[in-house]
């Protein structure tokens, strides 16, 4: 097995190289494209770290959705070529920043390489809790997200809603209520439409599948939701679907559904299982899947809305 380490080293060098290119590239758009490639490479690193769940999330969110967001932004900024950019910092600041960055990176590398052995781990505790009466899930990550650290996960969904509102609030007063601008202004190419017509339904199926198996295998609400979001964006880029009006009641309900259901079930836990955010023993798994289904919906709607940007045009 001497091939695998060689591949690992190659992958590591590639990731670091592309990262350096993103920082060093002279052209804004080139650095954006570099970043998108970097996101995809990173997903491979996660596979090598035995983190398929993270790899899925990173590929869908870090590579795919973020990629569309940044490329769109880069294109719009390049179109505003006359935009005044601040002056680059002087040599002294650059040297200082370089020294600081090197110091931090060096300290971090040293600390990471000298982490204590044997490493402390909550894996045994999680295994015990997941096998016991607690959550009844085969995928420990889903158990952590929806059961042991449910409070974090619920609040993180609220963060997504605040981000959506924050993005909308950047728009003009007069446009409030209208739909965001379409992801592509021009009429899309035939090839794009064909791609979306084939890919979106297949991706939809795969996304639902990933959510469904997430209770016991790699996958779950985040990963499935992110994939559905990506498919929604493919459809929007082909103009097969348009962004909805931001004052649409359906849209608002879809966005709050995940955290709201989570919150209600969590509070109901006080009556059903004597603790806030506890699940009654016999219903843990169906309840968790119930919550996750709404979370998939909220994530699948929130991510494309974040990419689409503020409302645009007139509300009427």
């Amino acid at each position: 097995m001497s091939v695998l380490p060689a591949l690992d080293v190659g992958l590591a060098l590639l990731v670091v190289g592309v990262a350096a290119w993103t920082i060093a590239a002279r052209n804004l758009f080139a650095s954006v494209v570099g970043y998108v490639a970097y996101g995809l490479l990173l997903a491979l690193v996660w596979v090598r770290l035995y983190a398929p769940d993270v790899a899925l999330t990173e590929a869908a969110v870090g590579g795919g959705v973020t990629g569309v967001l940044l490329v769109t932004a880069g294109k719009r900024l390049d179109a505003l070529a006359s935009a005044e950019v601040g002056v680059p910092p002087g040599r002294a600041l650059k040297i200082l920043a370089g020294a600081l960055a090197a110091l931090v990176a060096g300290a971090l590398a040293w600390v990471v390489l000298t982490l204590p052995s044997p490493a402390p781990s909550l894996a045994p505790a999680a295994a015990e809790a997941a096998a016991g009466p607690g959550a009844g899930l085969g995928n420990p990550i889903t158990a952590v997200l929806i059961s042991y650290r449910s409070f974090d996960t619920m609040l993180e969904k609220v963060v997504l809603i605040l981000a959506v509102l924050g993005v909308w609030s950047v728009g003009a007063d007069a446009a409030w209520g209208a739909a965001p601008a379409p992801l592509r202004k021009v009429r899309p190419d035939g090839a794009m439409i064909l791609l979306a017509q084939f890919l979106a339904p297949v991706g939809l199926l795969i996304g639902v599948h990933i959510f469904w198996v997430g209770a016991d295998a790699p996958g779950g609400a985040f990963q499935g939701g992110a994939l559905l979001a990506a498919m929604g964006m493919v459809a929007m880029m082909a103009r097969l679907a348009e962004p909805p009006r931001i004052d649409s009641r359906k849209l608002r309900l879809a966005l709050v559904a995940g955290p709201a259901v989570f919150l209600i079930v969590g509070v109901a836990g006080l009556a059903l299982a004597d603790n806030l955010f506890a699940y009654p023993q016999n219903f843990a798994k169906p309840l968790i899947l119930f919550i996750e289904a709404f979370m998939v919906l909220s994530i699948a709607v929130a991510l494309p809305m974040l990419v689409c940007g503020p409302p645009n045009g007139s509300p009427k």
């Binding site: 690992d8 080293v9 590591a12 990731v15 990262a19 993103t22 650095s31 996660w46 090598r48 770290l49 035995y50 769940d53 993270v54 999330t57 969110v61 870090g62 973020t66 967001l69 940044l70 932004a73 719009r76 900024l77 505003l80 935009a83 005044e84 950019v85 601040g86 910092p89 600041l93 920043a97 370089g98 960055a101 990176a105 971090l108 590398a109 990471v112 982490l115 052995s117 490493a119 781990s121 909550l122 894996a123 295994a127 015990e128 990550i141 650290r149 974090d152 996960t153 993180e156 963060v159 997504l160 981000a163 993005v167 950047v170 985040f222 992110a226 994530i299 974040l306 940007g309 503020p310």
Partner: protein, 112 residues
Amino acid sequence: MTPPILAGLVGAALVGFGLYGLICDPHPLRKLLAFNLVGSGVFLVFGIVARRGAAAGFAFDPVPQAMVITGIVVAFAASALAVALILRLAAASGKVTLDPRAWTKRDDGGAR
């Protein structure tokens, strides 16, 4: 070199590059890219910690991995908010600089 050690070095390098870009690059979108590099470096550190915590039949400690999933989504939301601000700023003023000097002059002039 095992994957965790390699990933540790990669993570440290990413944090270093990102930090430098965050401080030195004058363009806010590139600052955002740099922030994302730092972010993925930090997530890698979580990943190493998770991988090293392999125990009890698991190839990884699920707790840090779950945190990374939460973190990736939050980082994306932050990027989206920043992009919205940058685009609006560029469209409204034709400037995409954060230099305070570019913004304070005009308002103070009328004070005296």
